[in-house]
């Protein structure tokens, strides 16, 4: 055993640290680049799902005064007067619609109530506003004298909120009963449907991919490489091209229907496009290579003599396969299945193009809230739930397969 002097040990640790720093220095540029271009955008979006200052910016003084209200009965007339004044201002600036939209998200039905009230209040002159503002408000809609309305305004005004997560999980905050389920289930059903479709796609990929990978692995390597090109070409072909292909195939007057009609098998065309069937079929086609490639690479590495030994010792083919060969392919199968599942859960393009209303997945509803309903906070909440699910699966993948061992082409 060599014994290091203190100086030598110090030197060794310095040089070790230097090497670690050097290795790290190579990674730093990309790390910084990704932090700025990728991590920060996602983090800022997640922040948006809990931080929501819009209402607080629209009616700041009302909210400040509501903070001192005890939450029973109607707020004192002075508070109502402040609200009327702020509503008047908003109506003049044509921003009361925004307030109506925001409040409606907290309590359904408030949109029309706020809009009609804003119209009435907006017509008042400054003197009238002073004298009969509060009365106009209470006359405009009977709900303005109800406690729940003001509790809802208070809730909508919270700058930090978990309301969007409640909505994303089909829950709502009831003033008396606390958190409870909403009458209509939208998003939970959609999550369930997304998971079900992803599971179906993964199962189909495994069912189609496993035998093919087994067959390819049993061929001599030059022949297998040749056939592998048929797997790799779809892998390398643009996603849009493959989706276009499925539209051409599945349309009402598409290739499959006209073929089946041409040979007289069916009288009227099937409606296949714009269904969840189309989504599952097209996505199975698109993701199949992700299943085949890891399976094939694991199967190539399995010594065929194990199976031969079992067979020559008298095992029957199926039990021999199930007990000897199959367990050895599990790493490839789980790697492929996890990858296919992870990718399909968050898929957007293909369901959007071939899925119709029936074949939409969670990504599509996120896109809808981003682009059409402009409910960005809800989109962010739905997105962060999806992200949490994906990261959990990714963590499992990393633990059992290793993120660094993802195979490409």
């Amino acid at each position: 055993m060599t014994i290091l002097t203190r100086a030598e040990a110090g030197q060794a640790s310095v040089s070790r640290r230097k090497k670690r720093l050097l290795a790290f220095a190579f990674v730093v540029p990309l790390l910084l680049f990704l932090l700025l271009s990728f991590v920060a955008p996602i983090a800022s979006m997640l922040w948006r799902s809990v931080y929501h200052p819009t209402v607080a910016e629209l009616i700041p003084i009302t909210l400040e005064r509501l903070g001192q209200w005890d939450g029973t009965g109607t707020p004192e007339p002075a508070t109502l007067a402040v609200f009327v004044e702020e509503l008047h201002g908003l109506a003049k600036e044509r921003r009361s619609g925004k307030l109506a939209e925001e409040l409606n998200r907290t309590q359904a039905g408030m949109s029309s109530m706020v809009k009609s009230t804003a119209r009435r209040v907006g017509r008042l002159s400054p003197e009238e506003l002073q004298q009969q503002g509060v009365q106009t408000l209470l006359d405009a809609h009977r709900n303005w004298s109800r406690t729940e309305t003001w509790l809802a305004v208070q809730r909508a005004g919270q700058v930090y909120t978990y309301n969007y997560y409640l909505t994303a999980l089909d829950l709502e905050l009831h003033p008396e009963h606390g958190i409870q389920a909403r009458d209509t289930e939208i998003y939970r059903q959609l999550y369930a449907k997304t998971l079900k479709m992803a599971l179906a796609i993964t199962a189909l990929c495994a069912l189609l991919g496993y035998p093919l990978a087994y067959y390819l692995a049993s061929l001599p390597s030059n022949r297998a490489n040749l056939l592998l090109v048929l797997v790799l070409l779809p892998f390398w072909t643009s996603l849009l091209v493959r989706t276009t292909a499925w539209i051409a195939l599945l349309q009402t007057n598409g290739v499959i229907n006209s073929f089946l009609q041409g040979i007289g098998l069916i009288a009227a065309p099937f409606e296949m496009l714009y269904t969840s069937f189309a989504t599952v079929l097209a996505m199975t086609h698109i993701l199949l290579p992700f299943m085949i490639l890891p399976l094939y690479s694991v199967m190539r590495g399995i010594d065929p003599s194990y199976l031969r030994a079992a067979l020559s010792l008298g095992a029957r083919p199926l039990p021999a396969f199930a007990r000897i060969y199959f367990p050895m392919t599990l790493p490839g199968l789980s790697a492929g299945a996890l990858l296919v599942f992870i990718i399909s859960v968050g898929y957007y393009i293909t369901p959007a193009l071939v899925g119709g209303t029936d074949g939409q997945m969670i990504s599509n509803i996120i896109a809808f809230h981003m682009q059409s309903s402009n409910n960005w906070e809800l989109a962010a909440a739905l997105g962060s739930l999806l992200l949490a699910l994906i990261l959990l699966l990714y963590w499992v993948y990393d633990r059992f397969v290793g993120a660094g061992s993802i195979k490409l082409g």
Partner: protein
């Protein structure tokens, strides 16, 4: 497959069925793509075979959709944009990714597992989330609706592929070569450029191809973040499929299939060359 004597009747039958099933799956993989090619020469504005095409009448086939693509300024702009954005995104992704892969492959790399998972995450996070986040963030930096913004976004999405392919060529890399060069007085930069880079070149090139195809094929980020001036080929196809379906999309699709065949052949050649050069196998 050779069939030894202890194989019974059922086993033979099983092998036949396996072969049949495998070929059916291969057809399922390849046929939908091949169907597009003849359809793109349709003389009619349909997405299906006309009777004339099936009877091989010459006037049922035409190049009109190709002419239309190459005379439509929107398609021309999209083609130009796709190549410009793809080129710069690839450049950025390849330089940053190669550099990071070299660091990750070193034994002394601290927190390797965590950092690898982090650097590969752009491949895993659903594009809709990435795109939504980038839309807000890049808008606040005035990068949304600019070529630069799309290039940065696509580079971020492409780096994981570069890391994977370069890391694959670096496993089994003999660091004594680099140490020898250092000992002989070369600067670290020289060592990287003259010793390491030539040896990992096949991995770098295939990583670059992956990064290029990632950008070339990406549509979600473009959909959310880019303005009309940054429309790319897939973006143009996406709106074509949603709004007015006509076979010019099929013509573009056929050209893209050609491009992917070229890329695939290039990769295959690279793989063989890498095997010859160093006697190691780049994993399939």
């Amino acid at each position: 497959m050779k069939t030894p004597s202890y194989y019974g009747f059922w086993h033979h039958l099983g092998n036949r069925l396996l072969k049949l099933f495998s070929w059916l799956v291969l057809l399922f993989l390849i046929l939908p793509i091949l169907v597009i090619v003849p359809l793109s020469f349709n003389a009619e504005p349909f997405f299906s075979f006309t009777e004339g095409m099936l009877r091989l009448q010459p006037d049922a086939w035409s190049l009109r959709w190709y002419e239309q693509v190459f005379s439509d300024p929107r398609w021309l702009l999209a083609i130009k944009n796709s190549f410009i954005i793809g080129f710069f995104a690839t450049l950025l992704a390849t330089v940053l990714g190669t550099c990071a892969a070299v660091g990750l492959a070193r034994a002394e790399m601290p927190l390797r597992r965590f950092i690898t998972a982090l650097l590969l995450s752009p491949m895993i996070v659903p594009l809709i989330i990435t795109a939504a986040g980038m839309f807000f963030f890049y808008s606040s930096l005035n990068l949304a609706g600019s070529h630069l913004g799309v290039i940065i976004a696509h580079a971020a999405l492409g780096t994981p592929f570069v890391i994977i392919t370069v890391t694959a060529t670096l496993t089994g890399f003999d660091y004594s070569l680099a140490r020898a060069a250092l000992n002989l007085g070369a600067s670290p930069l020289r060592v990287f450029l003259d010793v390491i880079l030539p040896l990992i070149r096949p991995g770098v090139i295939s990583g670059a191809l992956f990064a290029f195809i990632t950008s070339f094929d990406e549509v979600v980020v473009v959909l959310f973040m880019a303005g009309p001036q940054q429309r790319t080929i897939p973006r143009q196809m996406f709106s074509g499929l949603r709004e007015q379906i006509n076979p010019s999309i099929l013509a573009v699709a056929t050209l893209l299939i050609l491009l992917s065949i070229v890329l695939l052949l290039t990769l295959e050649l690279l793989r063989r060359r890498a095997e010859r050069m160093r006697g190691i196998e780049i994993p399939q």
